[in-house]
Symmetry: C2
Subunit: 127 residues, 2 copies
DNA sequence: TCGGGCGCTCACATTGATGTGAAGGTCAAC
DNA sequence: GTTGACCTTCACATCAATGTGAGCGCCCGA
């Protein structure tokens, strides 16, 4: 078990945000008798996951829905999944697909542009 | 040429946001003598692009850098690209790659979860 | 026992992307 | 010439993610 400073170190995440994620229901550390937060080592990965999803543009509200299934490595049972949650998950999965497609398309365009810009810079070809 | 209401209709984007995008330098409509904004029809696509990138998590600041090359369909010349911009673009392209990978991974996990949850729901298998 | 480092909560500030509304100009139609 | 739909700017409100710091408790080591 680690305290907040240690987790902060391990994940490169400000303590403030770890508390915020808890407030948002993304982390639920234990408390030691003196009130200190106590985190499982596994929370290091979980925080990485949270930050990745945030960076990908998902709001905490969605991440809260998504996380419970991501951190079960398929050998663990499934929590009782209310159909609404499943619906929401499907929807979110589709949105993620859209994002991926969009990012991929535009990244391709950027790459292509960079290719051309690079060669024109090399050849000195301006407008 | 279309006015803001028409573009708003055509893109499903609130007028407020069209003005905001302009303020952010993402759109630069003409003005008619009475002060009304006048948009090229091509701005419909451009707005779609902007919103796609925003939805993908890019900030307007980056989109501003990225747009000038995306809407030049490779037959148009390259604007004088300061090396800093190229750097920024490369960086952003890499971030987009990360996002894509992250989204893909997690979407895979969601899909998998949905698969299992669905079958367990079908079979009635709970915890 | 005291100081320093870590933890706690509370709470306000900020940034980015938006919502919303007020106060007013333009213009076409009636 | 008035109404109504559209436009303008200005400005404040909101929400999410985050920064910052005050004021206070815990605990270990000198």
């Amino acid at each position: 078990m680690m305290r907040i400073g240690e987790l902060s170190e391990a994940t490169g995440t400000p303590r403030r945000l770890l508390r915020y994620y808890e407030e948002q229901g993304l982390l639920t550390p234990q408390r030691s008798p003196n009130g200190y937060r106590e985190y499982h080592p596994g929370n290091v990965d979980r925080v990485a996951q949270i930050r990745g999803l945030l960076a990908a543009g998902l709001p905490t509200r969605i991440i809260r829905q998504v996380l419970p299934c991501l951190n079960k490595p398929r050998d663990i049972h499934i929590p009782d999944a209310p159909p609404e949650v499943l619906k929401a998950l499907e929807h979110e999965r589709d949105r993620m697909t859209e994002r991926v497609e969009f990012l991929t398309r535009n990244r391709g365009a950027i790459t292509e542009y960079l290719g051309v810009a690079c060669s024109s810079a090399t050849t000195g070809a301006g407008a």
